[in-house]
């Protein structure tokens, strides 16, 4: 799937640029992708080291376990495949909480740790159902305070930049619920198909 998308994006882009007369631009885009990636990594790496360090203290002291106990009813409903008390539940719950408070750069390392420990469970290079559920939780992006969007609204002189918060909360909460339902339906269809 990923291989196909990778190929289609590149071929469609290059062919269109020839037809459109912008092929001179494509060479720049190709080279720029290397520095673009490095810019992302450059931003991500130190923050990831920082948060993995801090959260390892919380993990070792048992604080994350306490956190996942609070979320246990929700987690066991969403992730029936993960055995109770498994460490991936700790990481999933910390990822969820950090996402809610808009701490995106702290949520990502926790998400990766969650994926890592879920991979230990499934022990294959195929995405498990739990991994996909977790991915959907992240892509539907349930946020209480959308900081970036508020700052953009301020930039363009909104009379009340934070008025977006209640609308965003309602909308993203419903989206999250629908996302989980869709996930369950697709999972069932996929199981029947294979």
């Amino acid at each position: 799937m990923i291989n196909l998308i990778f190929g289609i994006f590149i071929i469609a882009g290059i062919l269109f640029s020839i037809f459109n007369g912008t092929s001179y631009n494509i060479s720049n885009e190709i080279l720029k992708s290397a520095s673009d990636t490095f810019d992302i990594i450059k931003g991500l790496f130190p923050l990831m080291a920082l948060w993995l360090g801090i959260m390892n203290i919380a993990h070792k002291s048992g604080l994350l376990e306490k956190l996942s106990n609070i979320l246990r009813p929700v987690l066991s409903f969403l992730f029936p495949d993960i055995p109770k008390g498994h460490k991936s539940l700790e990481y999933i719950s910390s990822n969820m909480i950090m996402n809610m408070f808009g701490l995106g750069n702290a949520a990502t390392p926790m998400g990766i740790k969650a994926m890592e420990s879920m991979k230990e469970l499934s022990n294959s290079d195929e995405a498990s159902d739990s991994m996909i559920t977790f991915l959907i939780l992240n892509t539907t992006g349930f946020t209480i305070i959308p900081t970036t969007i508020i700052s953009y609204r301020m930039l363009y002189h909104s009379t009340n930049p934070s008025a977006i918060i209640p609308i965003c909360i309602i909308s993203s909460f419903i989206s999250l619920t629908i996302g989980i339902i869709i996930n369950m339906i697709i999972r069932r269809i996929y199981r029947c198909g294979s």
Binding site: F6, N20, A127, S175
Partner: protein
């Protein structure tokens, strides 16, 4: 954020752990993660740069016309799952044209706020731990995004007058 760090450190000390050693051990793991992530991310950004840079998406936008929702948000809906930085630039552009407190401005902001860069998240999460077969993940993620956009539209339509 500082409250979080304070609680974690106090709780760690209270449990009698070697918290500095724990910190170092955790931070060290970032090397492995980044090492796996870099090639995956590079591949994805290469293909997305080519696609976005070719202008193909802009060409498609000219043909997509849905009378129900404002024209301005259609490119945002298509770009949002693919590229975080491009969609943020687009949001900024929309807000500067229609104004942040207009119906379209609020709709665009809500759409941005209730979704995320699905393909980026998929690449980072699966790429960094070496998941190669993603099964129904991408389809599921994109479908959830589509529904998020529809829900944003319904919620903003219903609540716009209450808040603005």
């Amino acid at each position: 954020m500082w409250i979080l760090v304070l609680i974690i450190v106090i709780y760690g000390l209270y449990k009698g752990n070697n918290i500095y050693d724990d910190f170092i051990e955790g931070a060290k793991e970032s090397f492995g993660v980044i090492l796996n992530l870099f090639p995956t991310l590079l591949g994805m950004i290469l293909s997305i740069n080519i696609l976005v840079g070719s202008g193909l998406l802009n060409y498609i936008f000219n043909f997509v016309k849905i009378s129900l929702i404002p024209m301005e948000v259609i490119p945002l809906m298509l770009l949002r799952p693919i590229s975080g930085s491009s969609s943020l630039a687009l949001l900024s552009n929309i807000l500067s044209i229609v104004g942040p407190d207009s119906f379209t401005g609020v709709l665009a902001s809500t759409m941005m706020g209730s979704t995320d860069t699905t393909i980026y998240i998929l690449t980072v999460y699966f790429g960094s731990v070496g998941i190669k077969k993603t099964r129904y993940a991408l389809f599921n993620g994109l479908l959830a995004d589509l529904f998020s956009f529809i829900i944003s539209f319904i919620v903003v339509t219903l609540l716009y007058n209450c808040f603005f």
